[in-house]
């Protein structure tokens, strides 16, 4: 079996004059949890819509389970459990109606699993979706996305605007999905602490381009926060190879630096400054540095 669940090559998408996706290539391998991060409007949702076959590639290609999702929607969509921020649920239905409707659509529907999820999430079968709280509705959407044990779970900003208890359910669902062998998760979020907790791999998009695509552990090992001191005040950040984003001014600068830590001292020596302090950085800081616009 092909281990490439999603393969995107040189994907371009323009809306009017704006390039929403600009030569994007990425691979999602079986058994991976991939966290897709980026600011609003960076292109996350546009990329996800291509994977779902809701948008056709202008140029470049998209393959999901080895197939073109636009040419073969049922072949692709019946294998993807999808949950979006809005939920997209038919609000006039009751939960038990939604379950029956979904069971008919997905060949692999597991009625017992659906029932156990319903109990776990504390949802009433006769409750109308339109009358549920936002958190309950997210749980209902999650139930439908999980109950047919999809090969790919695709979550687009699933915990946006939800309280911590519901967010915990969603993270738990991701973890449970990946614990069953051979299943794969792609989720987009701006809550980076969550992304950091559950992802194997991170793809960071900025203005339609991928600026970072690596294993999370590797990203954490190669990014460092470094505080630098200079004898004379500087009006602009010094030129430092590997610098991702700068803060500070005058004689004291702080940089998110990417590279082999053993090469740091030598690189800093060239700027005429010295290392005052250094340490690890959270994904949040790495993200801000990459999104900050101070990259040459």
């Amino acid at each position: 079996m092909d281990d490439r669940i999603v393969e995107v090559q040189n994907l371009v998408r323009t809306f009017g004059k704006r390039r929403a996706l600009d030569d994007v290539s990425m691979v999602l391998e079986r058994g991976t949890v991939l966290g897709l991060v980026g600011q609003n409007g960076a292109g996350k949702t546009t990329l996800i819509k291509h994977i779902l076959g809701l948008l056709r590639a202008e140029s470049g290609s998209v393959r999901v389970f080895g197939m073109d999702p636009v040419a073969n929607p049922p072949g692709v969509l019946s294998r993807i459990g999808y949950l979006s921020e809005e939920g997209d649920l038919p609000l006039w239905m009751r939960l038990d109606e939604l379950v029956r409707y979904s069971a008919a659509f997905y060949p692999g529907w597991d009625a017992r699993y659906a029932e156990s999820l319903r109990k776990e999430f504390g949802l009433a079968g006769d409750a109308k979706l339109g009358a549920m709280s936002k958190g309950q509705r997210a749980r209902a959407g999650l139930l439908v996305a999980l109950a047919f044990r999809p090969e790919l779970l695709l979550l687009d900003e699933p915990s946006s605007g939800l309280d911590p208890v519901v967010r915990r359910d969603i993270l738990g669902a991701i973890i449970r999905t990946i614990a069953d062998e051979g299943r794969t998760v792609l989720f987009s979020s701006h809550l980076l602490a969550e992304v950091e907790q559950v992802s194997d791999r991170i793809v960071m998009v900025r203005a339609g381009k991928i600026v970072l695509d690596d294993e999370l552990a590797e990203i954490k090992m190669t990014h460092h926060r470094v505080d630098l001191g200079f004898a004379e005040a500087l009006s602009t950040p010094p030129v430092l190879a590997g610098a991702v984003g700068w803060m500070g001014g005058g004689k004291n600068w702080s940089v998110v630096w990417r590279g082999d830590i053993h090469l740091l001292e030598a690189a800093v020596a060239k700027t005429g400054g010295r290392v005052l302090n250094r340490g690890g950085v959270s994904l949040d800081d790495i993200f801000v540095a990459h999104a900050g616009g101070s990259i040459a």
């Binding site: 991976t32 915990r168 738990g172 990946i178 907790q197 552990a217 954490k220 690890g280």
Partner: protein, 137 residues
């Protein structure tokens, strides 16, 4: 098992698990033969990716801290006293490395670092009647 994950520091989560299990073993909170939670149970408890826990357990196994047999779980390894001592040293060396790096950044020479260590040891542990008293500053 008492493990706490922080996503704000720079250490990858699998490494946080490895370091904390090593400390629990070195500190005698986990003893040879004790069973570690299953990968899935620890992933659920910490709310982290099971692949991450699996990677931590693999690293711990390679380091000889735990043994695992397929299907039977993961156990703290039997160690002879030399190995147990080495393990304690490994935990300490992590801290010493951090101290050395910081000393260098603060431009305090190694001799002075030794001095500080000796002085602090005296101040902390050599109080009268064998009482342990920790002074600040």
């Amino acid at each position: 098992m008492r493990i706490h994950i922080s996503s704000t520091d720079g250490v990858p989560i699998y490494m946080q698990i490895v370091q904390q299990v090593r400390r629990l073993v070195a500190g005698g909170e986990l003893n040879p033969g004790d069973e570690l939670p299953s990968i899935r149970a620890l992933a659920d408890q910490l709310l982290v990716n099971p692949n991450t826990v699996a990677r931590a357990y693999r690293d711990l196994e390679v380091a000889g801290v735990v043994t695992s047999s397929r299907g039977l779980g993961t156990y703290v390894a039997e160690t002879d006293s030399q190995m147990a001592h080495d393990e304690k040293r490994a935990v300490l060396i992590e801290r010493v490395d951090a101290l050395l790096i910081e000393s260098r950044q603060l431009q305090i020479p190694l001799d002075e670092v030794f001095e500080i260590l000796k002085t602090r040891d005296t101040e902390i542990f050599a109080s009268k009647n064998g009482e342990t008293e920790v002074k600040n500053g």
